[in-house]
Symmetry: C2
Subunit: 228 residues, 2 copies
């Protein structure tokens, strides 16, 4: 019997590889996904398949209507930027940023971790190809972890410390893809596109598709997805 870990699973390459890593480290994984009013639910369908592939103990989908807040291209009617070059993608915070998203997702994961008595939470944030999101930086993760250990009943009663694992934090997209493949990940089960067509086919032009395609190219592998 391994230890329990909560793994944030969006259905993209990073979270899928993170789940594979947690599993490979011997954890019994509890996958959690969020239906937060994103433009489409393809990634949630993929997340369920990925959790199945790696035999997660449970896969929970939590509904939170972040659309009520507005303010992001991922949850609002602001257009998703397309065809940006690498320099633009890696500088500044784009309109696809969802305010406080990782904080909200990690907080909910913390609530679940507390209930199932897990002290380990895995999140696939990345400080290299990170699209400029402030809540993907190591100092942010460190501060969340600090807060989390004070926030919980387990922390007070059993001096239990919450550990936020970020195994991808210093990996390039190509390294993440190669790591995933080495651990048995089938990337045809992932979804990355911010703005897919109705059938779910990725656009190939948003920041997320462009980072993914470059990752496969750099890894010397072929992306198993078909683009529109």
């Amino acid at each position: 019997m391994g230890l329990k870990a909560v793994v944030l699973l969006s259905g993209g390459i990073d979270s899928a590889t993170t789940l594979a890593i947690a599993k490979n480290e011997g954890y019994n994984t509890y996958a959690i996904s969020f239906n937060y009013g994103q433009r489409h639910s393809f990634e949630l369908e993929k997340a369920a398949k990925i959790a199945g592939l790696f035999k997660s103990e449970k896969h929970l989908v939590v509904n939170i209507d972040l659309r009520k807040f507005g303010g992001s291209a991922l949850t609002d009617s602001i257009p998703v930027p397309k065809d940006r070059n690498e320099k633009d993608i890696s500088h500044g915070i784009p309109s696809t940023y969802v305010p406080a998203r990782n904080t909200i997702f990690l907080s909910l994961s913390l609530g679940w971790a507390e209930i199932i008595e897990a002290e380990d939470i895995f999140i696939g944030v990345n400080a290299i190809d990170y699209s400029g999101y402030p809540d993907c930086r190591p100092e942010y993760i460190e501060a969340f972890q600090q807060m989390a250990s004070i926030a919980t009943k387990a922390g007070v009663e059993r001096k239990s410390k919450i550990k936020i694992h970020t195994p991808l934090i210093n990996m390039s997209k190509a390294e993440i893809i190669k790591k995933g493949v080495s651990l048995g990940m089938d990337f045809s089960l992932t979804h990355s596109c911010y703005d897919p067509i109705s059938s779910g086919k990725p656009c190939g032009r948003c920041d997320s598709c462009l980072l993914r395609l470059k990752g496969f190219l750099d890894a010397g592998l072929k992306d198993p997805l078909e683009y529109s």
Copy 2:
């Protein structure tokens, strides 16, 4: 034109007084309530009335289904403890504790604050009559604030700092009630009971009712609510 502040408003005495304080300090208030699968929605109806009384700019009710996690008497089928004495109420963490609740609520408030460009968040936590919840302690609030300022786009781009205001942190329930009354709060608009009867009448026996009744007694005031 005052500054904007997000105020967590549950519909109870503490959050109502907190809203009155924020308003009195000159903030334009943005009240946020959570429909988190609690046993009843009386407190949400009250919250809307309180936001109206203090002329909040907006009142947002965010749905998050914490019932999916289970594990608390407030969201699960675990019975609410009744008729406990003062010593029991003030020691240990009771079954009404909802794991990571304040962390989840503060994170969502942070997301909204970021969108409306507020740097101030008010929460009515209390370290005196605090029912033993770990996420009501000053060191917890401090750690959350630290994390919040690193988490956001505003923090990165404008070095904006998030301030979590806890005006009630060192006040007794009686002091909170007196403060609220002095600022024009009408406590008949509040709801505190964990386990009301179907009409919404409070039980008078759960920890929350007992703390409330004692507060009014100590303040030398009459609770305007009718008990069942």
